[in-house]
């Protein structure tokens, strides 16, 4: 091989790429920009929700007299009042409160994993990643139960004018209110759930790499940080879904 072969030296000038104005790596910046674009997707869902909800009548009576009807938008706490193991007991928003706590807790264990990564503490990174995977999977399982309950419906169902009854909700019928209410529920929580699922897959990859010592050899745990950003974003989206779908 010729000894005169020279590799191009990294450019170090301010305007040659030798400058890092945001003091963040390429990967981290790109994760931020991806999350920004994802914000637009969820913003579109939020806009759709606002517009469709506005086009439906609001329920004007008291909370005690509320009955399910296709004529107006339902009160969320009347729709989401079931809890696994407490069949027929009215526990408004209790299950979604539990789900919210689980997801916030998974965010905390994720930060703890990132923090352990800064200290190059392989054992702690493994431990906290496992907790995060566990809480994330629990959240997904809860959502699966919530969907199943929503789809199968209540015992009494909704009586239609022709004497027939419908139970639960699909994309074309809805026991709890207007059909579009169910559609929005499936699309918004479904899209969020898909994000959680992707996050769990990424976390499992992170866990395998950590166990194999890939990041320890690399000298930093930045990959865990990047997946952490994504995971917190999923938590952030849930905070908004929770407010606009379950509270407002």
């Amino acid at each position: 091989m010729s000894t005169t072969t020279t590799l191009e030296q990294p450019k170090t000038g301010t305007w040659d790429g030798g400058n890092e104005p945001m003091k963040a790596s390429y990967g981290k910046l790109m994760m931020w920009f991806f999350l920004l674009s994802d914000t637009f997707t969820f913003g579109a869902f939020l806009t759709t929700y606002g517009l469709i909800r506005h086009r439906h009548n609001a329920y004007t009576g008291t909370s005690e007299d509320f009955v399910f009807s296709n004529a107006y938008w339902p009160i969320p706490e009347k729709v989401f009042n079931a809890f696994p193991g407490f069949h027929g007991v009215d526990l408004p928003l209790a299950f979604v409160a539990l789900m919210t706590m689980i997801l916030i807790l998974s965010s905390v264990t994720m930060v703890l994993a990132v923090e352990a990564g800064h200290r190059m503490d392989k054992n702690d990174v493994q431990k906290w990643l496992l907790w995060t995977i566990l809480f994330g999977s629990t959240f997904l399982a809860c959502q699966a139960w919530e969907w199943s309950h929503f789809i199968h419906g209540s015992d009494q169902g909704l009586a239609l004018a022709d004497g027939s009854k419908i139970f639960g909700a699909t994309l074309v019928q809805n026991e709890y209110g207007p059909v579009l209410f169910a559609d929005l529920f499936f699309f918004i929580t479904g899209f969020h759930g898909t994000h959680v699922f992707s996050g769990i897959v990424l976390l499992i990859i992170m866990f395998i790499n950590t166990v194999n010592g890939t990041y320890q050899r690399r000298g930093h745990y930045e990959m865990v940080e990047k997946v952490g950003l994504y995971w917190h974003f999923v938590d952030l989206v849930w905070v908004f879904v929770f407010t606009f779908f379950y509270l407002v």
Binding site: L29, G43, A97, M110, L112, G213, G228, V239
Partner: protein, 115 residues
């Protein structure tokens, strides 16, 4: 070549691992729990209405602030990165508000026109 030869023994040579500094993380966790609890208190003890919705949205923005600033570490990034994220987000919030209000008006107008 060089990149893996001199890192081969890193796992044995890491030496002292500093102690974890997790006080701030748990503080944010407590704040998020308290804000969520306040939201539930309002959901059950206040009549539905515009005021209650405004309270919900304000509390949600507080929660979002703590998640983005502390958990996602944005508060501790450079100013240019903070603004790079916040300015498009602010414009998006404006877009959502505009689309919902104008869209609602437009939908009502079309609906009434064909009534």
């Amino acid at each position: 070549m060089a990149s893996h030869s001199h890192h081969a023994h890193d796992e044995q040579l890491t030496g002292e691992i500093p102690k974890a500094q997790t006080k701030g993380i748990w503080r944010v966790f407590v704040i998020l729990c308290v804000l969520t609890a306040i939201e539930f208190a309002f959901a059950f003890f206040m009549e539905p209405g515009t005021l209650r919705n405004i309270i919900f949205i304000i509390l949600t923005i507080f929660k979002a602030f703590f998640i983005v600033a502390e958990f996602m570490h944005l508060k501790h990034e450079t100013k240019s990165l903070i603004w790079t994220i916040l300015v498009p987000t602010a414009l998006l919030v404006w877009l959502i508000i505009a689309l919902v209000t104008e869209g609602s008006y437009y939908a009502d107008a079309v609906f009434n026109y064909f009534k």
